[in-house]
């Protein structure tokens, strides 16, 4: 339960509204408990041969009081439940804002589905506590007290007797809710198993068909499906109890009232109207009895969910500004130095970069090539501070990058990542994504136009139905791999930082287009430091310096001609690519 204490600050924000809500609950219940009393009076007066205006008085009292109580009921929901939605909103905002601060490592180690589950299911469970559970606990408490008080005022003995079955009902609802929750969780777990089985089957359909295993797969699925059926039946067995037990307990209360109350009426100790009022009050107590068990369950579930949320809130962002940060740095020229840099992803894993020493002068173009897994991407990920180095340091303009404000560093780096990620938005918004704080519309449009020209997107845009305003991605048109890569190049170019990183981002572009883009980029790269990673020699051959990474170390270094003369890894890659081209042309 302790985890729910962290909700205090949210409640504090809406203190007045919540207190007002409690007041409405109080007023609503205090008025509504009078209805059975009016009915009692009405019935008792009937025995005394009253006139019809008197009857109208009672009838309109009943309606009037219900109306007043109803107005308060309306206000209760408008205050407390509405507040719960507002707290849910605040909580989700805080959750998201926290997520945005977490570093790449967190996202690589956590499944998107898990994060989503916290954001939806857990926040929802907490909302159920903040709203319904809080509202009903106060509501049922006051209703219970008022009703009981009035029942006592009519007949103390009968009240005690009629209440006998109620503890049974409360306890039953509590255990019932708990049991159902467990059974339901089991069903859900099995549902995931069933889903996983279907998924696995469909993914492996080729092998299943090749080995003619359709029948056994069907049998296997039938078994799982039957187990799922059985688990549902288990829940039904318990579920089906609810209603019968409910009306049995209520019914036995009514029987007690009828018998003892009836005897009292016969003996003249109770009026018929009072008996009717008692039966009606029983109806008022049913809900509090059920709600008691229900609220307990809701609160328990919310506590568990809040605990999970708190553990996420407790994760410290790995990469952030610290007390080392020098906020006087507000722009960069782009001179990069790797000084004895070693890096590994985790303590027990092997190093992916070993003792790298490299100086990249401001304004030059360096290229990195090497086999898959040689450390190319890690190299540039360190530069953008997606991770921090394990040993050594990286300097830009002579500053250790850990002292450069993260905002300044990222503003100055235009990074085209290997895995292209575009948002499902218009092409224009995607390209303009990095144009922060540009107010002049001309400048804004000019930057976009220029970026589109450099990334050679003009012919593509002309073919799109709505040109640059075309929505891409899930909700729009699907771009080809090459188009995606070129769009992300345009996005980086439009941003225009001092350091340009191209991480294997021309792989899906054909060689002709690649050549156009590279020559377009030449002017842009003037005055900027560029690092180009590629598998293709054609992409990098014109770089000022080419670095061949092999197993985390710099194996070869030099210009295209120098490396060819070296007759090492680089020249072997070159030969192979020549052959590939030849084959292509046969």
């Amino acid at each position: 339960m302790k985890s729910l204490l962290s909700l205090k600050k949210y409640f504090a924000r809406y203190k007045t509204t919540i207190y007002l809500g409690f007041l409405f609950i109080f007023l609503s219940n205090i008025t509504s408990v009078y209805v059975p009393l009016f009915i009692r009076d009405g019935i008792d007066e009937l025995r005394r041969q009253i006139s019809s205006p008197e009857l109208i008085k009672y009838a309109s009292l009943i309606v009037g009081v219900t109306f007043v109580s109803g107005v308060f009921r309306f206000l209760i929901r408008q205050t407390i439940i509405v507040t719960s939605r507002k707290i849910e909103f605040d909580l989700r905002n805080d959750f998201w804002s926290h997520l945005q601060k977490l570093s790449l490592r967190y996202y690589q180690n956590t499944k998107t589905g898990d994060i989503m589950a916290h954001a939806t299911n857990d926040i929802n469970a907490v909302r159920n506590f903040v709203g319904p559970a809080v509202m009903y606990s106060f509501d049922t408490f006051t209703l219970f007290v008022f009703t009981l008080a009035l029942m006592f005022s009519i007949d103390v003995e009968l009240t005690f007797l009629s209440l006998l079955p109620f503890p049974v009902l409360s306890i039953f609802v509590y255990y019932f809710g708990k049991k159902i929750h467990i059974l339901f969780t089991k069903i859900q777990e099995h549902f995931s198993i069933l889903t996983a089985k279907a998924q696995e089957n469909l993914n492996g359909i080729r092998i299943i068909k090749a080995y003619v295993r359709e029948e056994s797969e069907i049998n296997h699925f039938r078994k799982l499906s039957y187990e799922y059926f059985r688990k549902n039946i288990n829940k039904i067995k318990v579920d089906a109890l609810f209603h019968p037990v409910l009306f049995l307990t209520i019914g036995s209360s009514i029987i007690i009232i009828m018998w003892f109350g009836g005897m009292k009426v016969i003996n003249g100790n109770l009026s018929l109207g009072e008996l009717t009022a008692f039966v009606l009050y029983m109806g008022y107590l049913i809900w509090p009895a059920i709600a008691f068990g229900w609220i307990t369950n809701l609160t328990q579930q919310a506590a568990a969910s809040q605990k999970r949320l708190n553990s996420i809130f407790a994760i410290e962002p790995e990469i952030k500004d610290s007390n080392l940060t020098d906020y006087s740095i507000n722009s960069l020229k782009g001179e990069i130095e790797f000084r004895n840099v070693s890096f590994r992803y985790r303590d027990n894993l092997p190093f992916v970069l070993k003792n790298i020493n490299l100086k990249i002068p401001a304004g030059s173009t360096y290229a990195i090539i090497g086999h898959t897994g040689c450390g190319k991407t890690s190299f540039v990920n360190l530069l953008a501070r997606f991770y921090d180095v394990t040993e050594g340091q990286i300097l830009i303009d002579g500053y250790d990058i850990r002292t450069i404000p993260l905002k300044v560093l990222r503003e100055e780096i235009s990074f085209v990542q290997q895995e292209t990620f575009l948002f499902s938005d218009t092409l224009k918004n995607n390209i303009a994504y990095g144009l922060n704080g540009i107010t002049s519309e001309d400048e804004f449009n000019h930057r976009i136009e220029e970026a589109i020209r450099i990334a050679h997107l003009i012919p593509d845009i002309e073919s799109f139905p709505k040109g640059i305003e075309t929505i891409i991605g899930e909700r729009g048109i699907t771009l080809s791999g090459g188009q995606k890569q070129r769009t992300s190049i345009a996005r980086a170019v439009a941003k225009g930082g001092k350091i340009l990183i191209l991480d294997d981002c021309l792989s899906a572009v054909d060689t002709n287009t690649e050549e156009i883009i590279l020559s377009n980029l030449k002017k842009f790269m003037k005055g900027r430091t560029s690092i180009i990673i590629s598998h293709r020699i054609s992409t990098i051959k014109d770089a000022d310096l080419i670095i061949v990474l092999d197993k985390g170390t710099i194996a070869e270094k030099g210009t295209h001609e120098e490396l060819l003369a070296l007759d090492g890894i680089y020249s072997r890659i070159y030969q192979k690519q020549l052959l590939e081209k030849e084959l292509e042309e046969i």
Binding site: A59, M116, E200, S225, G251, E580
Partner: protein
């Protein structure tokens, strides 16, 4: 439930008689249950309204005249009606839910079985995720319709009818007066439902927006951070979150109005009973007990009326899901099977392609006029660059797809004359990416085939050399394969796939060699295993290993969908053509490696 990826969220019309008829077919095997449930319904529906009637008798005939024995009798009657109702209701709820779940089970199996029959052409076009949704979530959303929907409609209707009957019997006039509030109740309920439904749609829409925003930005978080967009993205998130909050608050409003309003209607009904009924009592037209019973009835008929409106929603979601399910069941993309299939006896294993043309889409041919013969027991290596058409040869030989022109023959029998399953019984396939299923190691070798006993599994594993590492696993052959074999190395997975193929002991073996590099130790093991596997069978290998090529009887060089060169390793090298270049590109390095 992973309900975030609400693809195809369609809310169709509430009732479609064509769909309903088809759905009812699934209930047919259980119609006994249904009739029983409906019958029990009629009985229990009467038990609830009978109690106020009994209390009326208690008030008028016993309490008023002071007859305590009579009162006791009535109390016992009420008690037994309670117990009877509890028992019947439990049994009935159980029976209908049982039937509902059983129906879902049947439907789920039918979909799954149908999927197993569909040809690969269908799977190429359909994302696996969506198909999984049909089998699981869509079936699940029919649950309410089957288990409570159909039967409970009867229950609600009968309760209302019985209440009317009892009220009419006691006092026709007062019944009419009391029931005068019902049209208002029905109207209010429908209006409320309509508003809530429209609002619910908005809630779903905004929730989907919120979820897809989060999903997308969690995947692209590095881009957000790289472009310093945290603040701006937070603003966007906040505005989506705000919309979601506001539609929810709107729904609070509807509930806040509706529930007190229903209370008010009920109070009006009670007021009417006091006013009109009271007058009748004064005039001695009805007794006090009737008044007493009527007040109880007003409490009673509100629930079923409200529930009936609820059922509309159940129907609606049911219709949308069943439409999608039936669409899948109506998809009949199968491989044409011969009318008089030939059964392969004493297969020798000769494979022949005769002028085969094949296109996945009937337009762009990936294989053009391919002809070759493989004699029984021969090993043929197929080489070529990516996209040359190598895997297509596998796909059509196994009859995963039908060819457009030409013939494929096995032992000189055209495979179009052979049933697809009969054909595959004689061919084993080993894919590049080894597919492992959740289950233990031994089941991954025999694929749950009882005809392959454990001895045979063990033998196969020993021959290919998988036995040695399996023996080292904690539970040996009973070790569970987790996450599709994530805990096994690439080489180990390969060996399991080899053991699988060997255990099935096929006449013809098709093998797509793995490209990914494995360490030399594993490489040596796999090479040894391969030699044993290929021995005595007709084998077609999409080769990535130099040793495989060198050991094969014949090499077929595919280039852009055509056979360009054929022969053995040395003959082809001398040609200095495509093979020569491929060799230098892909295989030459291996000479130094091994």
């Amino acid at each position: 439930m992973s309900d975030f990826f609400q693809d195809d969220e369609v809310i169709g019309k509430a009732y479609d008689s064509r769909l309903m008829k088809r759905l009812l077919k699934y209930v047919k095997p259980y119609r006994g249950y249904i009739f029983l449930a409906i019958f029990l319904n009629i009985v229990t529906a009467a038990l609830e309204p009978v109690r106020p009637y009994l209390t009326k008798i208690a008030v008028d005939e016993y309490i008023s005249v002071g007859d305590s024995k009579g009162l006791l009798l009535i109390i016992l009657l009420i008690l037994s009606s309670l117990i009877l109702q509890a028992i019947i209701e439990y049994a009935m709820t159980f029976a209908t839910q049982y039937m509902g779940q059983k129906t879902l089970f049947d439907l789920r199996m039918e979909i799954f079985q149908h999927l197993q029959k569909l040809s690969l052409k269908f799977f190429d076009k359909s994302p696996v995720g969506r198909l999984v949704t049909r089998v699981t979530n869509d079936v699940e959303s029919l649950s309410e319709l089957f288990s409570s929907g159909i039967v409970m409609i009867f229950s609600d209707v009968f309760i209302i009818i019985w209440i009317f009957v009892f009220m009419m019997v006691m006092s026709f006039d007062l019944a009419l007066v009391t029931m005068s509030v019902i049209p208002v109740l029905i109207y209010a309920t429908f209006l409320f439902r309509k508003k809530v439904r429209a609002n619910y749609r908005d809630v779903r829409k905004h929730l989907a927006r919120l979820n897809s925003y989060m999903q997308e930005h969690i995947s692209g978080m590095s881009v957000v951070q790289l472009f310093n967009k945290e603040e701006e993205e937070f603003k966007k998130f906040k505005s989506i979150n705000e919309d979601y909050r506001d539609v929810n608050i709107k729904s609070v409003f509807y509930h806040a109005v509706f529930y007190p309003f229903v209370e008010l209607i009920s109070a009006i009904a009670v007021g009417l009973i006091i006013w009109y009924g009271g007058g009748e009592v004064v005039q001695k037209n009805i007794s006090l007990g009737v008044l007493f019973a009527f007040i109880q009835y007003t409490e009673m008929f509100f629930r079923p009326v409200r529930d009936l409106a609820e059922k509309y929603n159940i129907l609606q979601t049911g219709m949308a899901s069943s439409e999608r399910i039936f669409k899948l069941l109506d998809t009949k993309i199968f491989i044409k099977n011969p009318e008089n299939p030939i059964v392969l006896n004493n297969l020798k294993g000769k494979v022949e392609f005769r002028n085969v043309w094949f296109a996945y889409d009937n337009e762009n041919y990936v294989l053009k006029d391919v002809s070759f013969v493989i004699n029984p027991g021969e090993t043929v290596a197929i080489v070529g660059a990516t996209g040359a058409g190598k895997s297509s040869i596998i796909n059509i030989l196994l009859k995963f797809y039908e060819i457009n022109k030409g013939q494929i023959l096995i032992d000189d029998i055209d495979i179009s004359q052979i049933d697809e399953k009969e054909l595959r019984k004689h061919i084993a396939l080993v894919l590049q990416d080894v597919i492992l299923f959740s289950g233990d190691i031994k089941s991954n070798i025999n694929l749950w085939n009882d005809q392959i006993p454990f001895e045979k599994i063990l033998e196969a594993a020993k021959i290919v050399g998988a036995d040695s590492f399996i023996q080292k696993l904690p539970k040996k052959y009973d070790e569970e394969v987790k996450e599709r074999g994530a805990t096994l190395s690439l080489g180990q997975k390969q060996l399991i796939a080899f053991a699988r193929a060997l255990a099935y002991d096929p006449k013809i073996l098709i093998l797509d060699e793995a490209t990914a590099s494995i360490d030399t130790e594993a490489e040596r093991m796999i090479q040894k295993a391969m030699t044993k596997l290929l021995k005595g069978r007709t084998s077609i290998v999409i080769a990535h290993r130099l040793s495989t090529i060198q050991n094969s009887d014949k090499i077929i060089v595919l280039h852009k969908g055509q056979i360009r060169e054929m022969g053995n390793h040395y003959e082809l090298l001398e040609l200095k053509g495509i093979y020569y270049r491929l060799y230098q590109l892909q295989y030459k390095d291996q000479e130094i490696g091994v």
